[in-house]
């Protein structure tokens, strides 16, 4: 059951906010370096913001309204001093900005790379295709969310806290009562806006959903271009798209209106607070408990509250998102790799043909049915084996266990008598190569794609490989030969051609054990036969295991292993198995043969 919990990537471990921060900082030590200095400087830099209110008060009380007429010299001295202070705090805020950006971006880059590496270390079980998208977002949008928060929200948060603190201190010095009044006016607003923010947040969630629906609808006009034209349903499709676009438009405008109401209520309260301060302050000033300068300084100080309070909820939401993102990334990094490299303690496989042994192996996907049960078999070196069976019989699982993309739930897989779990990855990957059905290609040239498994191979090595596989003619027919760009995921090649590239790649890697998982399923028959022959040449003197859909492969193999509902039900040469009337293989072969005539 340990695999079940570990496959709950990022979601299962609900770290508290403090634990997230602790663990996050531990993973990115750059974040901690010099943090206290940065925060200290940040506090200094906010002092610049209260310079104007302070000087206003001084100018009015001790300058313009000084006993014996305006004291211009004092005000000029004061403004010059203040200007110097503003310049200085400006410099500190530059330093703060830079330090924050350096530390956070450095830390996040480290986190990104750690998470990326760890994703590759996770077993294919965790990497299963439906999860791949969410795994990608761990190292992209999740980290971007944190980064964006730090760049905008985080900085704003620090500045806002500093600004409100310093302003409050100055207000309290002038008049604790009026300071309290400002707080009393803003606190309820903060609460109201927070509530509003919930409404606005939900409205924008709806907008995001509608964006998704809209993009899905629009994509039909592009991806379904052939079908739409073949069936003449341009009008109908256009209508569906228009409806989706309009649903998005309406939800976006509704959200905008809600956001405007929330924002404007903030402005309204800020304005009314200024009014209240002026009215109450006038009363206090008339009674002599507040000077005119102090009252006017208050008008400036109130402005320092407006922006932080209005943006506070937004920033807090952003912060929650950032922490949630951080939590998810940490979740990935802390997911134990269930298939791990024994590295130092491991052993290397000796070079040469490999014996494969399954010792009472069973496998079940977490929470799912048993896929393989009690499989025991030995494949002698230099043999060419075909594994056949219906869809879902467990063939591919066999291949994945054999190449240690997953570990069995019970039992052992042995190569040359060594438990696979003890073999160093470096040794394993250079000796054992699997060609999956979906030959993945990178957005690069044909040459680079073929060289993927052996980066030190020269252009001539690649040419030789293609010639040996009989694929040289095909490559020459491509617009730029070996330098042809294959496009994203190889989209400018056909499915069959992609498989040819994947095969060439494996052939070039020169393994001792080659595992083919329906690696030629999309290739036309004569090419397949040609490839098959070349592979036979390659696999002479090595062990090869082919999982096959077309039984031509089985006919050519030394031995056929028939898998049915997770068990090996038959094994032996084709000629023998096909004669066992009523057997699984005989049935499979009969239906295959019917198609050939």
């Amino acid at each position: 059951m340990s695999t079940a919990t570990s496959s709950e990537i990022g979601g299962g471990t609900e770290l508290s906010t403090t634990d997230t921060l602790k663990r996050g900082i531990a993973l990115s030590p750059e974040l901690r370096a010099g943090l206290l200095v940065t925060l200290g400087l940040a506090l200094v830099s906010t002092i610049g913001r209260v310079m104007v209110p302070f000087v206003v008060q001084q100018t009015i009380d001790n300058g313009i309204l000084a006993r014996g007429g305006p004291d211009t010299a004092l005000v000029v001295r004061l403004t010059l001093l203040a200007a110097a202070a503003v310049t200085f705090t400006g410099l500190t805020s530059y330093v703060v900005n830079l330090r924050l950006f350096r530390a956070s971006e450095g830390g996040l880059a480290t986190l990104r790379v750690k998470a990326f590496r760890h994703i590759h270390d996770l077993s294919t079980l965790t990497q299963s295709s439906e999860r791949r998208g969410s795994l990608v977002s761990r190292v992209t949008s999740d980290v971007d969310t944190i980064s964006q928060f730090v760049q905008f929200g985080g900085l704003m948060l620090i500045v806002s806290i500093g600004q409100v603190t310093v302003a409050t201190v100055l207000m309290a010095i002038y008049s604790p009562l009026l300071a309290l009044l400002v707080w009393v006016c803003f606190v309820p607003l903060f609460i109201v806006i927070r509530r509003f923010q919930g409404v606005v947040g939900r409205a924008y969630t709806l907008v995001r959903e509608r964006v998704g629906d809209m993009l899905a609808a629009i994509s039909e006009s592009v991806v379904g271009a052939v079908t739409i034209r073949a069936y003449g349903v341009e009008e109908r499709t256009g209508g569906r798209i228009d409806a989706a676009i309009d649903r998005h438009r309406r939800s976006a405008i509704a959200a905008q209106i809600k956001a405007v109401v929330a924002f404007s209520s903030g402005q309204l309260v800020a304005g009314l607070t200024t009014m209240t301060v002026l009215a109450v302050g006038a009363v206090m000033a008339a009674r002599g408990s507040l000077t005119l300068g102090e009252l006017l300084a208050f008008l400036f100080l109130v402005n320092l509250f407006t922006q932080p309070v209005q943006t506070a909820t937004e920033i807090l939401n952003e912060m929650q998102n950032a922490i949630a993102g951080w939590r998810r990334v940490i979740g990935i990094v802390d997911t134990p790799a269930d298939v791990s490299d024994p590295s130092e303690e491991g052993v290397d496989l000796p070079r040469g043909p490999i014996t494969v042994e399954f010792d009472d192996v069973s496998f079940a996907y977490p929470g799912g049915d048993t896929v393989l049960s009690d499989v025991s078999l030995t494949i002698p070196p230099r043999s060419r084996v075909a594994v056949v069976g219906e869809t879902g019989s467990g063939k591919t699982t066999l291949a994945k266990l054999l190449t240690r993309l997953m570990d069995p739930a019970t039992g052992r897989v042995l190569l040359d008598g060594v438990d696979l779990r003890r073999v160093r990855f470096r040794s394993l990957r250079s000796r054992v190569v699997m060609v999956p059905q979906e030959g993945f290609l990178f957005d690069a040239t044909l040459l680079q794609n073929i060289r993927f498994g052996r980066p030190d191979a020269t252009r001539d090595d690649v040419r030789l490989t293609l010639t040996e596989l009989g694929l040289d003619g095909w490559v020459e027919g491509l617009p730029h030969g070996l330098d042809t760009e294959v496009g994203q995921r190889g989209e400018s090649l056909s499915a069959g051609e992609r498989q040819l590239v994947a095969l060439a790649r494996a052939y070039l890697a020169d393994p001792d054990l080659l595992v083919l998982d329906e690696a030629t399923s999309a290739v036309d028959p004569s090419t397949e036969v040609r490839i098959q022959r070349a592979l036979d040449g390659l696999t002479t003197g090595r062990t090869s295991i082919a999982i096959a859909h077309r039984l031509s492969t089985a006919e050519a193999a030394d031995e056929v292993i028939v898998v049915d509902r997770g068990r090996v039900v038959q094994r032996g040469p084709h000629s023998e198995l096909v004669r066992q009337t009523g057997s699984v293989y005989a049935r499979l072969h009969a239906s295959w043969a019917r198609q050939q005539t």
């Binding site: 610049g48 310079m51 100018t59 313009i64 305006p70 211009t72 203040a82 503003v86 400006g90 805020s93 530059y94 900005n97 830079l98 950006f101 971006e105 996040l108 590759h120 294919t124 990608v136 992209t140 949008s141 980064s147 760049q151 993009l215 629009i218 006009s221 592009v222 079908t227 034209r229 073949a230 003449g232 341009e234 109908r236 798209i241 676009i245 438009r249 209106i257 405007v260 109401v261 924002f263 404007s264 304005g271 009314l272 009215a279 000033a285 009674r287 002599g288 005119l292 400036f300 402005n303 990957r429 993945f440 498994g453 980066p455 027919g477 994203q488 004569s526 006919e555 019917r594 198609q595």
Partner: protein, 627 residues
């Protein structure tokens, strides 16, 4: 992305071109934008007025009260109503401005998304082939958004313009010397904002680009997870990712440095200006030219104007995106090459016979087109010149009525192209295509789909119910749907879906397997009872046994129907009355399967590859045993 960045720096006339797009937006959303602009002007005037109201209250109410040492309720009430009125008007202005701006933005977006997608539906397949689907999707989404995003900050900037003009008038009215300070501070602030935006936008663009690159590498590498693992390349992949991540880090720090430099400057300028106002103002008060309230008014004005001035920067920062976005959107909107239709109907009593005479087709081998580049080079009328790969040359085929014709050939021989040409999904470059003796170019729009249907190699399902995917909105009975699903061998699994035929299949049919999708696509074709049915490897993802059942069902149904089928499998080929063998875009031979087996070597080699291989093996095995 990179091309967008290039365009940005290469265009000195961004301002002029951007304003032209803005003008177009104004013309299209006149009413809503009028509300936004009026609201914004109210906001602009009221912001300046607020400073004046405060100054007025200070000099007429507060100062006298302080001097008198007492304040009346009437005086307090004056403060309350004057301030409240000013606040209320400002807020009304802001509300109108923001709602108007938002509505204009979203209306324009929706309107252009509709136009762009209509164009996608209208333009021919050859145009679609030239443009990667990712680019077309981002055109309808991101490019349209980029074009109109300027309308979010624009009304505010207009209001701020009003604000500055009124503010300047106020300053001059109060005092020439203080006005001079304003004339120094605001232009300086404006320039600082401009410099900031011009420094910032390339850096932000670079960071965005690198973010996209990081995402691309992550997508590709993680999607290739199995391969990376199988080849033991985790280390190298991590290095590749770390390299681009580090470039992103450096770019993000550069963005931070720029912000870090300009934020304090942009903040310090009005602060220093305010301090100057206080200093000079005191001297002016001492000279007896103005009073304390005047100084406070101008100082207050400085502090409230400082932030809104930034909106000019926002607008200017948007303009390059506006121009680039518009260029790309316009490239789609002005794309030509729409298929022309004739006035005719196909004969109502036709039998679906099809023929191709000397048909040739080639597609461009050059890199796929980029919308941004097309906008710059003014898109050519026809397909771009350059290397052409011949898909079909001088193909002449007769698909006789009521019979099944198989098109056979190795990978890349032009079979799928042929299938699309038969139904006039694309027009050939030369030659004539006919159905029931009528040149398809003379047939009205929608005429061909009425009688002929294609089941493509890649089955495409709409994000709709199973039923919706089969009927495509046409009025077809339940019994007909039943029957079609049965022929396509889809009735079984559809019945097991959670809502049967009302089950939504998800985006592109994502909730179904490839074989299931193919069967629904097949049912969609069958239910239309076409006279001419074209199957392009349409059963490739279904199990052999199911395929046999489908073909049997079709054979029964297809009596009187003309069928053209692209196939590899012997089982499919053997149901054909005639076979047409293609190699490298040319018809090598046509005839019955038996005839071709006898006289066409390539054909014989292709269809018997497996059996021959098996025989040779048997022979080798026999030899080995003998020796």
């Amino acid at each position: 992305m990179s091309s967008a960045a290039r365009t940005m720096s290469a265009r000195p006339d961004t301002l002029r071109r951007g304003l032209r797009v803005v003008g177009r937006g104004f013309a299209e959303e006149r009413k809503v934008l009028a509300v936004a602009v009026v609201g914004s002007a109210v906001y602009g005037v009221m912001t300046v007025a607020m400073a004046r109201v405060i100054a007025h209250l200070v000099s007429t109410v507060v100062e006298p009260a302080v001097r008198a040492g007492e304040i009346s309720a009437g005086q307090v009430w004056t403060i309350v109503w004057q301030m409240s009125l000013a606040v209320l008007l400002t807020v009304v202005g802001v509300v109108l401005r923001r709602i108007g701006a938002g509505m204009a933005f979203y209306n324009l977006q929706a309107s252009y998304r509709r136009r762009v997608t209509r164009q996608y539906l209208r333009l021919p397949l050859s145009w679609h082939h030239r443009h990667p689907s990712g680019q077309l999707l981002s055109n309808a989404n991101a490019d349209v958004e980029a074009t109109w995003n300027v309308f979010q900050p624009l009304p505010m900037a207009i209001g701020v313009l009003v604000m500055l003009v009124v503010g300047a008038i106020e300053m001059f009215r109060v005092d020439l010397w203080l006005a001079v300070i304003g004339m120094l501070v605001f232009p300086a602030l404006f320039v600082a904002n401009l410099v900031f935006q011009s420094r910032m936008s390339p850096r932000v663009t670079l960071a965005q680009q690198l973010r996209a690159e990081v995402s691309e590498v992550a997508h590709e590498s993680i999607e290739a997870g199995l391969l990376v693992k199988a080849m033991g390349r985790e280390e190298q992949e991590t290095e590749r990712f770390a390299e681009v991540t580090d470039r992103l880090r450096a770019a993000a720090v550069e963005v931070g440095r720029t912000r870090g430099t300009f934020d304090p400057v942009i903040e310090a300028i009005p602060t220093l200006g305010t301090l100057a106002v206080l200093g000079v103002g005191t001297a002016r008060v001492a000279a007896g030219d103005i009073d304390a309230a005047d100084v406070v008014q101008i100082a207050y004005l400085f502090s409230v104007l400082a932030f809104p001035v930034r909106s000019f920067g926002w607008v200017l920062a948007e303009l390059p995106r506006t121009v680039v976005g518009w260029d790309r959107v316009n490239a789609v909107l002005s794309a030509k090459g729409e298929m022309r239709y004739g006035p005719d109907d196909l004969p109502t009593d036709g039998d679906g016979a099809s023929s191709l005479r000397d048909v040739s087709y080639a597609y461009a081998a050059t890199e796929r087109a980029d919308l941004g580049a097309e906008a710059r080079d003014a898109e050519p009328e026809s397909a771009p010149t350059g290397e052409q790969v011949v898909a079909l040359s001088e193909v002449t085929i007769d698909v006789p009525a009521g019979l099944t014709t198989a098109v056979v050939g190795p990978t890349g021989s032009g079979k799928s192209t042929l299938a699309t040409i038969v139904l006039r999904l694309v027009d050939p470059e030369g030659g004539v295509v006919e159905i029931d003796g009528r040149d398809l170019r003379s047939v009205r729009r929608g005429g061909v789909p009425d009688v002929a249907t294609l089941v493509a190699q890649q089955s495409f399902l709409f994000d709709d119910t199973v039923r919706g995917n089969v009927t495509l909105g046409e009025d077809l009975s339940e019994a007909q749907v039943d029957d079609a699903l049965r022929v396509a061998q889809a009735d079984g699994f559809v019945a097991e879906l959670s809502d049967g035929r009302d089950t939504r299949v998800g985006e592109r049919g994502a909730s179904l397997s490839g074989g299931q999708r193919q069967r629904i696509a097949l049912a969609r074709a069958v239910i239309r009872k076409p006279r001419l049915l074209v199957l392009d490897d349409a059963t490739s993802a279904v199990d052999p046994a199911v395929e046999t059942a489908i073909l049997d069902g079709l054979r029964e149904r297809s009596r009187g129907m003309t069928v053209l089928v692209v196939a590899y499998r012997m089982s499919t080929i053997s149901m054909a009355d005639r076979v047409c063998y293609l190699e490298r875009g040319r018809v090598v031979d046509q005839g019955t399967h038996r005839q071709l087996m006898e006289r066409c070597e390539g054909y014989e080699r292709l269809v018997t590859a497996y059996t021959r291989e098996a025989q040779e093996r048997a022979a080798v095995a026999a030899d080995e045993e003998a020796s």
